[in-house]
């Protein structure tokens, strides 16, 4: 049920941890595949997290459809609906966290 937010939490930890470490140690000029390490990490992690959250969403939606046809317990349906909402909202949150990579310089 909480998958979407866990994806967000992992994304947040990774992008903040990497940015802080890289900037504090002055490794900002390191490049990965031609992009600076900070924008690369932020964009990459955002992509992975967003895909994960989207996968949670699709999975929850499918399960929801399945449960509705079956004679499922109200609690299970409730939990799955919660999962749908959570993964949908977390996609927005995850994308917002990726936005800075497009706008801001790596370390300054």
């Amino acid at each position: 049920m909480l998958g979407g937010f866990l994806a967000w939490a992992v994304q947040f930890t990774v992008i903040y941890g990497v940015t802080s470490t890289v900037c504090a140690r002055g490794w900002a000029d390191t490049t990965v595949l031609g992009a600076g390490i900070v924008p690369f990490t932020v964009a990459g992690t955002t992509l992975v997290a967003a895909v994960a959250a989207a996968a949670f969403l699709v999975h929850a939606l499918r399960k929801h459809r399945r449960l509705q046809s079956a004679d499922a317990s109200v609690t299970d349906v409730f939990l799955i609906q919660g999962a749908v909402l959570i993964s949908a909202f977390s996609i927005a949150a995850i994308l917002w966290h990726g936005l800075p990579a497009l706008i801001l310089p790596a370390c300054s």
Binding site: A9, T19, V74, G82, I86, A92, A93, P100, P105
Partner: protein, 855 residues
Amino acid sequence: MNAPESPKSFERDTSEFPNPVPRPKDELEKLKRPWVPPKGLSFITAVNNTYVGMWYVGTALLFFVLAGILALIMRTQLASPESDLVGHDLYNQLFTMHGTVMMFLFAVPAVEAASVYLLPNMQAARDLPFPRLSAYAFWAYFVGGLVFFSTIFFGLAPKSGWFMYPPLSSLKYSPEDNADWWLLGIGFIEISAIAGAIEIIVGVMKTRAIGMSLDKMPIYSWAMIVFAAMIIVGFPAIILGTLLLEMERAFDWPFFIAERGGDPLLWQHLFWFFGHPEVYIIFIPATGMVSMIVPALAQTPLVGYRLIVLALIATGFLSFGLWVHHMFATGLPKMSLSFFSAASTAVAVPSGIQVFAWIATIAAGRMKLNTPSLFIIGFLFIFVLGGLTGVMVAMVPFDWQAHDTYFVVAHLHYVLIGGMVFPLFAALYFWIPAASKRPLSERLGRWVFGLMFLGVNVTFFPMHITGLIGMPRRVYTYPVGMEWHELNLISTVGAFMIAAGVALFIYDMLRNFRPVQDQNAGNVWNAGTLEWLPNGNYGVRSIPVITSREPLWDQANLAKDVEAGRYYLPGTVTGGRETIVTSPFDARPQYILQIPGPGWQPLLAAVFTAGFFLLLTVKLVFPSIVCGVLAVGCVIWWLWETDPGPVRPPADIGGGFTVPVYVTGPMNHSWWGMISLLVVCGMIFTCLVFSYLFLWLVNPGAWPPEGVVVPHFLYGAVVGALYLASAALIVWASRNLRGEDRRRPASVPILIAIALLLFVAGSAMDLWSHWQTGLSPKEHAYGAAVYGIVSFQVLFVGVTLIMGLYTIARWLAGKLDSVRRTTFDNTMLFWYYTTAQGLGGAAVVYGFPKLVGGY
């Protein structure tokens, strides 16, 4: 022994009742008897949630008034420029205490207190699962809080701000005891808050009305579970922070001293990792209350239940991604700041969901304009404004201007007063009829609301402008000619309006509040949830099956049938206090929990705990240690009476349900409590490792610093092996302690004893291996961090030692066997955790310097 779990949700035909009427004549008498509170002086040993809850709420309100008076003095001082009413020293104490007391002694305890009272009633449980723990939490808070507050009368109150930033709060710049009062006083009030949170988690997850599955839980229960989860994740950071700062002050371990490799920013990270969620920790229970009050007053079910649950969970998660927005001006890279800016905007969405859900509910029903609904409207007005300024300060560049000015003072009071105080007053007016013979006066209530509502806006609205035209926070005076004085004068007038409103409220309470357990004013609002069922000290007569979120609306005659004893467990099956434990998802009955009754143990343990911390503050080390030992003794005395075992065979609670009166393993309530506690410990340890890594980050090329040798990795390997071997012995002991035949194998105490020896040897070796290299905790932050991790592990091994010996004692006393093994299980869980923590610590301390190229 364990009741079977069924994947299907619990559903039954409610037309037939589980228990026939009439009930046996003496059944109600027998139910009442164990719940009678002690008489005379011993009354204070009562642990029932209704008594403790009421004392708790009362004490919280007392601190609200006291901290409010401090604010009035400050507002009077600032009414005119260059005023001489109070000097800088007192003023600095005043604002530090105002913030600290409002946050730690009013807001968090108040919402926790309200839930001690409300939660069991709302879930139709007879009491919380650990009533003595609530009593302990209350008394620790009561004694510690009052002593802490009284420091202001002796000029000893902390004066470095409620955020206590070092180096201002470190020994060099605050050589007196003032800062220690904050660190130790608040440190243990946090322990009280955590005790309450664990209680709430287990209470919400395990003691609900039958059939109250997750989708039928009152929103308040959802709010409280999120609240409690946030406390056990967020508070450890500040516990660790206070611990480190106190270590620095007392033993000169330089965690925050820049000259010796420390960093003042480490404190800010730890403080705000707690401090920002703290705001939501206060706000979420209040929204839970609002989500209960609005449907009751509008006489219609809450619109958007699922969305509100989403909003609560989302707030819980996102609030941990906000902490740096208190540090936008600390010079961190813009990229780092922007992540927190994004999270700070994202967190506005869940609040928006809730606001619109309440508006929709109001629109769907008919809300009369009585006092509680006025407070709800006032709450929405104030909170929406505060939320919008919150989005403003989430934008980093704007915050660069607004940070630490009166704009932020305005913002935070709008969200906290709007988001917490107004809902709390709504809740008081709303729920007091459930706890008092008479409801509060409607006429006075409108005046209270009017004065407070106008007062809040008159006080805090002008501060937005005061801040933007340049007035910084935390100034005891300001010069003439800055054009701030008119606005400040207006704010002061407003503050006295709020005070007048609160005074009128107190008068109303004195006149009309007459606490009773039964014969209360009753369901005056025609609300739909279970706390309005007729009840007594014992809670409800019988525990109902519920089929909707507003059972009193949807299940005709529910109140009458519950009172008649037609539902489950209409009497007592063990002769003592008890409640039904239900499964966490779909709330099927699992077993009957035997609840402990009144006793001196929690009270004395709390007093001695408070004594330990407070005496330590004034450096009376010996009496303090005596208190500490006594506190541990009282806790052991208290525990000794728990874990009663299966005192009788499984009992019939009606409707064909026969449930045991004792279970062990993951179904047991104390298993859940222990897991929650271990989450707290794990978070403290995580924060400690974070601190270690943070200090590494700010010390390029000095990890370890020149001249320091990291012990050979073999030492770490041996330490880890000892811990693992010890845990393996406990696994073995646990295997021997299985079976339905109540066996008591002699191998168990022997294995525990050997395991203890290995454990102690492991941690002693850990400590020695660093000591023999000549590493000092004082010279550099590296040493401080290493000894921080090692001594934290030593502390845990010490606790394991006590628990192990206690478990052996239980075996010797014949109170531990293969069925009655909850004590062993708890020790075992703690043991496994401590092992894992030891391994993690060793990996960091011995391995990390090698990893980053140390020598």
